[in-house]
C-alpha cells in the first residue's frame, strides 16, 4: 500500500508533499521495493537480472559496479549463473545487491530478514545503516527486533 500497489482505503500518502497517487512517476523514481518475492527472473543469469533492473530504472548498466556489489554480498562468483541454480539465501543476497545498486532514497522492505543466515542479517543491517547514513529512508517490517547501527529508528509494534 505504501508503494502504491494497493489502493488506499482512506486518507492519503504524501511524498515530498505530494500525493503518491498524483505523482506516481516521481515517487517511483525515489522508491526501491523488496518484498517476499525476490523479483529475479529464474531463467536469466544473476548479472542479466541486475543489468535489467538498472535499465528499468532508466540507467545504463555498469558491469563493474554490478560485479563489485555481488562480491560485497558474498555471491561474487555467481554472476554468470542462472538464478534458478542458486539457493534461497543466495537469491536473497542477489536481491539485496539490486537494492544497494539502486539510487532510490526510499527503501520499502517487506520482511527482509526471512531466509537469511546470521552473516546475511548483519550484512543487511549494515546496508540499511549505510543507506540511512547517506540520508536515505527505510521502511521495513520484521518479526524480530534487529539492531541497525547507531541510528534512532521508529518502531511500530502491530498486534492482531
Amino acid at each position: 500500500m505504501l508503494c502504491g500497489l494497493s489502493p488506499i482505503e482512506s486518507g492519503d500518502i504524501l511524498w515530498n508533499g505530494q500525493s503518491i497517487r498524483m505523482r506516481r512517476g516521481s515517487f517511483q523514481r525515489d522508491l526501491s521495493y523488496l518484498g517476499h518475492l525476490n523479483g529475479l527472473q529464474e531463467s536469466m543469469t544473476v548479472q542479466e537480472n541486475l543489468a535489467f533492473a538498472t535499465a528499468l530504472r532508466g540507467h545504463a548498466p555498469d558491469v563493474k559496479a554490478v560485479a563489485a556489489t555481488l562480491a560485497r554480498f558474498g555471491v561474487g562468483g555467481r554472476g554468470g549463473q542462472l538464478v534458478r541454480h542458486l539457493s534461497q539465501g543466495q537469491k536473497r543476497r542477489v536481491a539485496l545487491a539490486r537494492l544497494s545498486l539502486s539510487p532510490a532514497r526510499l527503501w520499502v522492505l517487506d520482511e527482509p530478514f526471512v531466509a537469511m543466515d546470521d552473516s546475511g542479517i548483519s550484512m543487511l543491517s549494515d546496508l540499511i545503516a549505510g543507506h540511512l547514513a547517506q540520508g536515505g529512508i527505510t521502511v521495513l517490517t520484521s518479526h524480530q527486533r534487529v539492531d541497525i547501527g547507531q541510528v534512532p529508528a521508529q518502531i511500530l509494534e502491530l498486534r492482531a
Binding site: 508503494c3 502504491g4 500497489l5 494497493s6 489502493p7 512517476g25 517511483q28 523514481r29 522508491l31 521495493y33 518484498g35 517476499h36 518475492l37 525476490n38 523479483g39 529475479l40 527472473q41 529464474e42 531463467s43 536469466m44 542479466e48 535489467f52 533492473a53 538498472t54 535499465a55 528499468l56 530504472r57 532508466g58 540507467h59 545504463a60 555498469d62 559496479a65 563489485a68 556489489t69 560485497r72 544497494s100 545498486l101 539510487p103 550484512m123 549494515d126 546496508l127 549505510g130 543507506h131 547514513a133 547517506q134
Partner: protein
C-alpha cells in the same frame, strides 16, 4: 561495510529501455526454444489436418484456404499468450516492473512486440508453405502474408489484455481463450477476407487498410488496458 561510492549512472531513453525489455524477452525465449516452436508446429499441424479431413478436392480446398489458415494462426498465436506475464508474475519481476520509474504501458508494449516477434512472425514466414498446400497462387500467398503481418501484432496486443486479466487465476488457459477469442473476430474477418477478396477479383486494399486500422487502434489502447489489468492482478 563501507557504502560503495555512488555511481554516476548514464541515463537511458525510453527507447533504450524498450530495447532492453525486448532483448530480455528474446534471450529468455531462446533459452526455452520449445516454447517458441510449439505454436509454430501447432499452426502447421492444424492447417495440415484440414486437407486430410476434407479430402483432396482442390476447388474446395482453395475456397477454404484463407479461413482455415487464419483460424489456425489465431489459435497458434493464442497458445503462447499465457506465458507473456506468467513467469514474471510468479517470481516477482512483474512487481518490480510495476514499481519502476518506467511507464508500465511502455513495458507492456515491448512485451507484446516481443510476443509478436517470437510467435507471430514465424507464422507469417511459414504461412506461404502451408498456402501452397491448399493451392493458393503466388499473389494470393503475398496477400496472405501481408494480412498476417498486419494482423498478428494486433492479436498479440489484444492477447496481452487477456493474459494480464487472467494472471494468477486457476484454469487461466481456458478462461483466456474464452475472453480473447471473441475479440479476435474482427481481425479474423478482415484477415481472411483480404485473401478471399483478392481471389474473387475484388482487390484486397480495403481489407488490408482495415487491418492496419485495427493494429493502430490496438497499439494505442491495448497497452493502457493491459496496464490497468496488471495493476488489478497485482493488488
Amino acid at each position: 561495510m563501507k557504502p560503495p561510492p555512488s555511481p554516476v549512472p548514464k541515463p537511458l531513453g525510453l527507447g533504450a529501455i524498450m530495447l532492453a525489455v525486448l532483448r530480455r524477452e528474446i534471450a529468455l525465449a531462446m533459452r526455452q526454444k520449445g516454447e517458441v516452436l510449439t505454436p509454430l508446429v501447432f499452426f502447421i499441424v492444424i492447417a495440415s489436418l484440414f486437407p486430410l479431413g476434407v479430402g483432396p478436392e482442390s476447388a474446395l480446398l482453395l475456397r477454404m484456404a484463407p479461413g482455415v489458415l487464419w483460424v489456425s494462426a489465431l489459435l497458434a498465436a493464442m497458445l503462447s499468450l499465457q506465458r507473456m506475464f506468467a513467469s514474471d508474475y510468479a517470481d516477482g519481476s512483474l512487481e518490480q516492473m510495476l514499481l519502476s520509474s518506467t511507464p508500465l504501458a511502455l513495458l507492456v508494449a515491448a512485451k507484446a512486440l516481443s510476443h509478436f516477434l517470437l510467435s507471430g512472425l514465424p507464422l507469417v514466414l511459414v504461412a506461404p508453405v502451408l498456402g501452397l498446400q491448399f493451392g493458393l497462387d503466388g499473389p494470393a500467398l503475398g496477400i496472405l502474408m501481408l494480412s498476417l503481418l498486419l494482423g498478428t501484432p494486433t492479436l498479440s496486443l489484444i492477447g496481452s489484455i487477456g493474459a494480464s486479466l487472467t494472471l494468477g487465476v486457476r484454469g487461466a488457459g481456458v478462461l483466456l481463450s474464452l475472453l480473447i477469442l471473441p475479440l479476435y473476430i474482427p481481425v479474423l474477418i478482415f484477415g481472411a477476407g483480404a485473401v478471399e477478396a483478392y481471389a474473387s477479383g475484388l482487390g484486397s486494399g480495403g481489407h488490408l487498410s482495415l487491418l492496419a486500422a485495427l493494429l493502430v487502434l490496438a497499439l494505442f489502447f491495448a497497452p493502457l488496458a493491459t496496464t490497468a489489468a496488471l495493476k488489478i492482478s497485482l493488488e
